[in-house]
């Protein structure tokens, strides 16, 4: 068992039995569900909108070669410096290079899952630079030296009391459980950081090929400050973020807000087309865009699961996933948690090391049903299972299925096994629920039914004679 599996098994066992955690997450996501349904109802036809979004993303991903070239050409035409990073390490190097070049000391950053993916903050801090997260949730988890708990709600697992304690400890503020006051404490600390920062790093929600623009959508205005105040702006994004046309945002912005947070539209929606142009009053002097692959092209090469690149990182699949809701975000040990994380992590970080996430699913399909861009999530989990078993089968499991197959294909043998089950059934009572019980994984928390004296097939046969 590798470390990732052990970690997942242990933590999932612990968190899923934690009733306080269960209640906290149920309450938070219960509120989300109400808002989401309310906003979904405002769409003329939500299902048609999903279909349109899926088709647009299909077009974007299947013609990625052309759209990326268009995007870069148009970004460069307005003086943006575009970098291509084939791996996460390369992306970190490129960003470190810019930071060193500018002799920067302090960096302000808005939310970017791609930066989490490549551990950019650690790389920058290791090189001696200060990086401060400006999104409130991200700021909180950064102060706690934790990874985000959720793609969209990084600090969803914390109560106001816990945040107040954290601020008191780290920022010396007076305890309060008033959300506005807590926000003001963070705001006061962050405003200073915006002013002193030499460089602002952002992620991106969409990249528009037609106009060469980066779309960033956020609720706190922190990304706008991150982009506007420092002299240098860097945007890090995965190559799959491309949308063909500007008008596509008319669908994708409300869709992302609705699916992700139960909002009609996110509060701030900005488009960045390049550095400050002659005659313009504001904007950064220099604008860098880092386009990152980091094994996304391997997913692109997989015709069966290519649609996983449609993902707009709304987090809707996490919110409805009964596994996520019971084990929580940190248990996955991945940047991308929940169903989408279980699908793509094996592609991004290795199938054999991360296949356990594809097995840690009841295949209920709630994720696929909710996904606004119609990624066939739960069927991709099945495909990951198939691919991993094909690549490196477990001898014991393979043998078990082979033997079961022989039994199932020979009625007399199957009938004998059934009789044996009934013979040994009374003995099972002696060990039930103990470590000697072969069905312990079931019986430690649940009772097993006992097989009645006559099976259906036996009844059917009796009846015919």
């Amino acid at each position: 068992m590798n470390a990732a599996v052990r970690q997942f098994k242990e933590q999932s066992r612990q968190v899923s039995g934690d009733l306080r955690h269960r209640k906290l997450i149920q309450t938070a996501l219960g509120k989300y569900e109400v808002k989401r349904d309310e906003k979904k109802a405002a769409f003329q036809n939500w299902q048609a909108a999903r279909q349109a979004a899926a088709e647009t993303k299909w077009e974007a991903i299947n013609h990625l070669d052309q759209h990326l070239v268009d995007l870069v050409r148009r970004l460069e035409a307005r003086g943006t410096i575009v970098h291509w990073a084939s791996t996460g390490e390369k992306a970190c190097e490129i960003i470190l290079g810019i930071v060193r070049d500018r002799k920067a000391r302090s960096i302000i950053k808005s939310k970017a899952m791609t930066a989490e993916e490549i551990h950019l903050n650690e790389a920058l801090e290791h090189a001696g630079f200060e990086v401060v997260e400006s999104d409130l949730g991200e700021y909180i988890v950064q102060l706690r030296k934790e990874a985000p708990y959720h793609i969209v709600f990084p600090a969803m697992h914390l109560t106001r009391g816990e945040i107040s304690e954290l601020f008191a400890r780290e920022l010396g503020s007076a305890p309060t459980d008033n959300p506005e006051e807590l926000t003001m404490i963070a705001r006061r600390a962050l405003r200073q950081k915006y002013i002193t920062a030499d460089i602002g790093i952002t992620g991106a929600n969409f990249a528009i090929a037609e106009t060469g623009m980066i779309s960033i959508t956020e609720n706190e205005g922190n990304a706008r400050l991150t982009a506007a105040l420092p002299k240098v702006m860097i945007t890090l994004l995965g190559i799959e973020k491309v949308l063909p046309r500007l008008e596509d945002l008319a669908l994708f912005l409300p869709m992302l807000a609705t699916a992700g947070a139960g909002q009609a539209l996110t509060c701030y929606n900005s488009l960045y087309g390049g550095p400050r142009q002659p005659g313009e009053a504001d904007g950064p002097e220099q604008y860098h865009v880092v386009l990152m692959d980091n094994r996304r092209t391997e997913l692109l090469a997989d015709a069966e699961q290519r649609d996983a690149l449609h993902c707009i990182r709304c987090g809707a699949c996490l919110n409805v996933c009964p596994i996520y809701r019971n084990v929580g975000g940190h248990t996955y040990g991945t940047t991308y948690s929940g169903p989408i994380g279980s699908v793509i992590t094996p592609h991004l970080r290795g199938l054999q090391d991360w296949k356990h996430l594809s097995y840690a699913s009841s295949l209920c399909g709630a994720c696929t049903e909710t996904c606004p861009v119609k990624i066939d999530l739960h069927h991709h989990l099945l495909q990951n299972r198939r691919n991993s078993a094909r690549q490196k089968p477990s001898t014991a499991e393979k043998m078990a299925f082979k033997i079961a197959g022989v039994v199932m294909n020979h009625p007399w043998l199957y009938a004998t096994v059934k009789k044996a089950v009934r013979v040994f059934q009374p003995l099972h009572k002696l060990v039930k629920g103990t470590r000697l019980d072969p069905a312990y994984s079931w019986t430690q928390t649940r009772d097993l039914p006992s097989a009645p004296p006559q099976s259906f097939k036996e009844w059917w046969k009796d009846r015919a004679t």
Partner: protein, 238 residues
């Protein structure tokens, strides 16, 4: 009509009453029922675990024995989804590809068959109790069966139906998942039971015995007085 009834292995062994109820109901409606002895398992456990060759060894027999059937009724939404949705995937690119697609079109989960194929909602049943319904995920999302079971329950005399909150949320069974990740599975089951308790129902009904095994297993451990029952068992009562 001659109906071929597919009683999956665990229903055969653990829940024979479910199959027996289906036979009685279909015969009462005037149909001829056959249950080929050689059909035991649909091959889903191996399929879901990723062992598609081993799954095909079992599924291939099923395909062969059912290909000439007029209509196939499956006593489980989950196994129904296997035949209807996943066989075409499983046999895609093999010589049986066409057969698998042909068979898929003839396969129905029991409640879907009654309502959508036979056009029957009232089977003359009476069940004096307060009940709630749990949607099995495969039946609900792979087969798209939301309405048939409710339409059938609505016509049962003296039955009081209460919809639970999150009826569509998974019970946590998920086949081998329940054994591979028992504590996650249990937590999911507990959430499901809590939703059902809130309705004050005496019975949790479903059209999948596997979900009911999970829920009943938890109820028994908690010494709860709430019981689970398969939809077919209710419909067979008069």
């Amino acid at each position: 009509m001659t109906i071929t009834l597919f009683i999956p292995c665990f229903v055969d062994l653990m829940y024979p009453k479910v199959g027996i109820s289906m036979v009685h109901i279909l015969e009462r409606l005037g149909h001829k029922v056959r249950c080929p002895e050689e059909i035991v398992c649909c091959g889903q456990p191996a399929f879901n675990a990723g062992y598609w060759d081993e799954s095909r060894a079992v599924a291939g027999k099923v395909l062969d024995r059912l290909k000439d059937a007029e209509a196939v009724v499956i006593a489980s939404g989950s196994c129904g989804a296997m035949l209807r949705v996943f066989y075409p995937d499983l046999f895609s690119g093999t010589v049986h590809s066409r057969e698998a697609k042909m068979l898929a079109g003839k396969c129905h989960e029991f409640s879907d068959f009654l309502v959508n194929r036979l056009g029957v909602t009232d089977v003359g049943a009476r069940f004096p109790a307060r009940v709630t319904f749990h949607d099995g995920c495969h039946g609900l999302r792979e087969l798209g069966n939301k309405k048939p079971a409710r339409a059938l329950l609505a016509k049962v005399r003296d039955l009081e139906f209460v919809e639970m909150k999150d009826a569509e949320t998974c019970c946590g069974f998920g086949g081998t998942f329940a054994a591979k990740f028992p504590m996650i599975s249990t937590a999911m089951g507990e959430v499901k039971c809590a939703s059902a308790f809130a309705t004050g129902a005496q019975y949790i009904v479903s059209n999948d015995s596997s979900c009911l095994m999970q829920v009943q297993g938890l109820l028994d451990r908690q010494k709860s007085s709430v019981k689970t029952i398969h939809l077919a068992e209710i419909l067979a009562q008069s």
